[in-house]
């Protein structure tokens, strides 16, 4: 496996999940991931410190998202519940996939300032210092947004509506 293939395999899933939390559609999230790796193919060789590749990728994806968001005022944001995203119909995985979708749904309802740092925190791929570098914000601001974002998330979880049943349910915690 080439270095490039290894890089793609190591990071594309977390990048997709981050992209999805920002862009809220699978098509746009896939586009963001593709654009990120195309940019890596073009410019990644300029990166002196190869240990920074992960941060470079997340930063690039975030900037691609912001750049597109600034340009595109014509396309309204779609509510996650309305997205035609089909989950695989395996009964054994249904509960886990429901929790996964609810997790992303909850992140999508957060204030914009909290969504990116909190998603990166929960993806667990980056430390808070790396998150600061990716989002180009001070370290103290990252800590503050993660703390306040979690508080808002917990409040949402207490009153979240299950889109499958329309019932108000508590978030199903594991472990």
């Amino acid at each position: 496996m080439t270095e490039f293939e290894e890089l793609v395999d190591t990071h594309y899933q977390a990048l997709y999940r981050f992209g999805y939390s920002l862009a809220k559609t699978p098509e746009r999230a896939s586009d963001l991931v593709q654009q990120t790796f195309v940019k890596w193919a073009e410019k990644g060789h300029q990166l002196k410190d190869r240990s920074k590749a992960k941060t470079w990728l997340f930063t690039t994806l975030y900037r691609e998202y912001l750049s597109h968001a600034r340009r595109s005022t014509k396309f309204p944001e779609r509510d996650l519940e309305e997205a035609e995203y089909q989950l695989p119909a395996k009964a054994a995985d249904a509960d886990r996939q429901l929790d996964a979708k609810r997790a992303v749904n909850l992140l999508a309802q957060l204030d914009e300032t909290f969504r990116a740092p909190l998603t990166l925190f929960f993806l667990q791929e980056q430390s808070y210092k790396e998150i600061a570098e990716t989002l180009d914000i001070p370290i103290g601001t990252v800590m503050s947004r993660i703390s306040r974002g979690k508080k808002q998330l917990r409040e949402l979880m207490e009153t979240a509506v299950d889109p499958e049943t329309e019932n108000v349910v508590k978030f199903n915690q594991k472990g």
């Binding site: 490039f4 293939e5 793609v8 395999d9 594309y12 899933q13 997709y16 999940r17 999805y20 699978p26 896939s30 991931v33 593709q34 790796f37 195309v38 193919a41 073009e42 060789h45 300029q46 002196k48 410190d49 190869r50 989950l87 695989p88 886990r96 996939q97 929790d99 996964a100 979708k101 609810r102 997790a103 992303v104 992140l107 998603t119 925190f121 929960f122 993806l123 667990q124 430390s127 808070y128 210092k129 990252v142 800590m143 503050s144 993660i146 703390s147 979690k150 998330l153 917990r154 978030f171 915690q173 594991k174 472990g175």
Partner: protein
Amino acid sequence: MDHAQAKLILASFRPNGSDLNDPAFAEALALAGEDKALGLWLANERAKDLAFAESLSEFPIPENLREDLFEVLANAQDAPGYSEFDHEFAGALADIQPPNNLRNDILAAMEIEQKVTTLPTAQKSPKNKRNWFSMPAIGVAAAAGIVAAVLWTSFLQPSNPHRQVASLTPAAIQSEAVDFLSGNISLDRKNPKQEALYQFLASNELPSPHILPAGLQNAAGIGCKRLDFNDKPASLICYQSTPGDSVVHLIVFQRDAIEGDLPQLAKAKDNCTHCSRDGWSVASWRDEDKAFFMLGKMEPEQLAAIF
């Protein structure tokens, strides 16, 4: 540190324990170990975070995303005209400059040829055969040989990396550096990645920079070479500077090899000089143990902009 501060810090502690060895969390973790209430809060916080993180990690990825990625990237790299090697090679070739006097040398060689060919014509030979060893032919051959010799010595032969000056003052080094860079440079190592070049220099016990001017920090490398000035080793590192894609050369010495003082990096951009010969600009500075000479064939303002 009080509870509120500890909680603010520990809220950013990843639930999978990746941050355990991060000293930024040490004090808050120690406090949580001593204070029961804080410890219970941390345990609860990590449990909730872990549950959410696990749910997020199971968010499905589109089945074909990986294959689509490689297909898009393969198409990008197969696009007509795309060739990383060609790109790098063209960049390296662009740095090769013809010697200063090539034009005059060629004209001088042509003048010799003209003098030969205007000699009085020889008397007709009784046999009237074309003789390739006649004077004009010899003259042409001689001129061609001279031109070839000039081309070899001036153009094809690389610049001598062993320079001798009366004393290693900054001015003398700048002048020698311009002389050297105006010739044909053969690099010891070519690589677009700066790190690879610094590793090569380190393995050959040659000096390399710890801190670069801002404009070079993300520049692509071209290559590097060992130079010797009065038998003192120095490194030549060539960069492809992004603004205008100019080539910038950095010559690095051990500081104690240089006679005289140099400004620190922060003041270097105010001291860009303009060599009157061939349009080269030079900036020089020093840090604790190294001396640096940055040269580019550009106006002084362009070189200053690299800082």
